[in-house]
Amino acid sequence: MPLAKPTVAQIQELAARYPSKQSAIIPALWAVQHEQGYVTDEAMSEIAQHLGLPPSLIEATASFYSMFLTRPEGRHDVVICINAPCMLRGADEMVAYLERQLGVRDGGTTADGAITWHSTIECLGACGGAPMMQVDHRFEENLTPERIDAIIERLRKEPAPHYPLPGPPHKGEGAVQAKAAEPAKKPARPRAKKVQD
């Protein structure tokens, strides 16, 4: 599937923005993944073409970074942390619960195509709200079975999220897309907000 026009425009804008066009590889991969859901060989060739770099270079970079997906996944992406700080607050129980409720194993996609979930040992930066997970890259903290149920119910109904194209400033078609991608709510805040005495 060829890349959409705003994505191509964004890649070209990025190439001009950095002192070296090679620096635009990772943002370009993000632009592709946010448009198509994952990164295909075909898309990497197209990135290479727009940046004037060999495709092998794009693939070498893409294969290093764990957030770039090479296969299509469900509409929603659920990642639950199992590193030590989350483990201390019951992450394993939440993982077991999530697996049972979704009915698919770690890394799998639900039969209705709504959710792909996996556990991660890579800390997601919300240990103060452990156990936690990221749903479509947004923080869901202080998980309980009830909260997990509510999130699953919501995700089964919701369409896939729109992500903003990387790199400011958005012009032309990119701007429209970026605007549509405004988050529905403010990002979750760390639990103990009080730092004053």
Partner: protein
Amino acid sequence: MAIRPLLTKDFATENLEQLPVYERTGGYAGFKKALEMQPDALVDMVKKSGLRGRGGAGFPTGNKWSFLPKGVYPRYLVCNADESEPGCFKDRYLMEESPHQVLEGILIASYAIGCNLAFIYIRGEYLPQHEALEKAIDEARQSGYLGKNVLGKGYDIDVILHRGAGAYICGEETAMLTSLEGYRGEPRLKPPFPAVKGLYGKPTVVNNVETVANLPHIVLNGAEWFAAIGTPTGSGTRLWCMSGHVNRPGNYEMENGTPIRELIEEHGGGVWKNRTLKAFQPGGASMMVLLPQHLDVGLDFDAIQKAGSLAGAGAMVVMDETTCMVDAARRYVKFFEHESCGKCTPCREGTYWMANLFDRFEGGDAKPGDIDLLLDIGYNIDGRSFCPLGDASTWFPRSVIKFFRDEFQEHISEKGCPFKKSTVEAVA
């Protein structure tokens, strides 16, 4: 010494992430004042303030700046927002609550070192924080704080927000620069240090988010004022990310030197469920475990180092009596195994081997010689790896073996985890 809001003093203000609100709290006054000063005077000021890098190594920021070779341009500033150390969530908090404070710090640092193009390398997982910074950059550009001829002072500065894609190693400064250049995020040999040959082969300074967030306050209030806060060798405050078995986990900004006891017992509300403290870990996944006997150690780079651990990136993971120390260490080792970039053999193979051994302990397959085998592997990784990731992967497990060797023995004799808290399957 106690809780001391400095970076977080205005965090109760509604909508602080918006530029006009941030300005009303005194925002960008530091940058305006900096623009009236000579860049060299700013470097001296930061040197005198005693500010040390908040990313983990605690290197004096002003000294780092002064290593840039004279007359070599362009120069780059890269703000390290790749916060990925397990247990740390302070930069996230700063970027989310007050992105303009971070940006103002970046502008001050850029002006001080003579840089016209700065980068923020933010981890891929921090999408909401990416959005907050992106909005702040747009607002600042519209208000003339960045762009050409900033505030009519003849200084040009632009900031590029660069999103990583899930690699802990990119928090290491040379790997970060390699990644920013578009390559696989593998570390580079030092020397040459980034100050001499950094991004695109040009002189580069890499500063942590919390480090730069201190700059507006230092410029506004002076080096002496800042140096008077905290300890003689650790001026200022730090954000401590408290997690694990405490009643009130979260971020707490503490004056350097405050006893750890005060953080955990007073602000964190003590160990949860009326249990007793077994151990705690300052600094993050990499750092050595400390025991209740260390509770009166001060929250300070040097004091924590003297006690046998490191302050690192300001995590405080609290573990109660029910914690399986073997499993805690296993998670961290698995993390390093997952995040090893594969460039050097001791780290790539060593972390893999350690992780296998830890699975044996937790799964009930460990043999009597396995404890010493773990120590032997650790010894062969530490100091023999290409970058600190490999070294640091061994510190926590080795310190746990030192203090809790009997727990490893129990895992062997009972053929499995005596705490029965977790299952091997949970960790893929």
